[in-house]
Amino acid sequence: MSARPEPVQMVKQRRDATLRALAEGIPYSNHLGIRFDRRGDELTAILTFDEKLIGNPMLPALHGGVTAAFLEVCAVIQLSWSYLWTDIESGRIDAAALTPETLPRLPKTIDFTVDYLRTGLPRDAYARARVNRSGRRYASVHVEGWQDNRGRPFAQGTGHFLMPRRSDG
């Protein structure tokens, strides 16, 4: 039996539904206005500028806490996405039925470190995370945030995460 490739819409729908359930399941991330752009399995987090994200109004600059939260959200979504990917693609998780309430448990942050490299300007910011190590219990994720210029990041972060227990042992 030759396996026909799945129609592209089905693949897209499944991936986008999963990403939506993941990203929209975090109230604080929604409050900050964080969205995700997907190209294949690559995710880019987008933080649309808003006045409420400002720390020092004199400069003005993004609040350091906003930057930290943005990078942490990007890291945890990327890690969850990588972790769920196989199950989504194989159909073991029914993406169409996924809602924030029915999502599998997500990794928990153990620690997170942010380096502030440049002032966060009052405009949109982007971030991409890379899972450097993902074991059965622990994961280490690095994330970079930039604004106008991809080669000049304004912040970077590294976090360690506790992985959820696989239900099937």
């Binding site: 975090i26 720390g55 939260a69 502030y116």
Partner: protein, 145 residues
């Protein structure tokens, strides 16, 4: 009675848009120590299944209290920026309760201020999170002139 520097730090924090957005309030500032509080709010939840506040919101509270601790230190000019901040999450904060961060600027040089902070909820014996950070100390205007 607050010294002028602490009063300035309090007014500065109170005016920051993102701190207002999170409903942060300055409990006390002075002599390199700042205590800030953030009320519980369902908008700042990380996991709707548990109602626990997102670590990012705790980061914002830690960062702000750290900055405030530097600003009210007797040996600094009034401005500072975060160089780096590490947060360790000990346990989930109890839903429905405010989170309070106490930051201490425990060492300062001409260029860098070192800060540690601890966040607790209603159970003050068991920290929710701790943080360590380095903050800039701006070159004094006087030296330049």
């Amino acid at each position: 009675m607050e010294d002028p520097k602490s009063r300035a730090a309090r007014q500065f924090i109170d005016a920051l848009p993102h701190c207002r957005d999170l409903g942060m309030s300055v409990v006390s500032v002075g002599e390199g120590e700042a205590v800030l509080e953030m009320p519980y709010d369902t908008r700042f939840v990380g996991d709707p299944k548990t109602g626990v506040i997102h670590g990012g919101a705790v980061s914002a509270l830690m960062d702000t209290s750290g900055g405030a601790a530097v600003m009210c230190h007797p040996d600094t000019p009034a401005v500072t920026a975060t160089l780096d901040l590490r947060i360790d999450y000990m346990r989930p904060a109890t839903p429905g309760h405010a989170i309070r961060a106490t930051a201490t600027c425990y060492h300062i040089t001409r260029s860098v201020a070192f800060v540690r902070a601890v966040a607790t909820d209603n159970d003050t014996e068991r920290p929710v999170a701790t943080a360590t950070g380095a903050f800039t100390v701006e070159a004094s205007r006087k030296a330049k002139a």
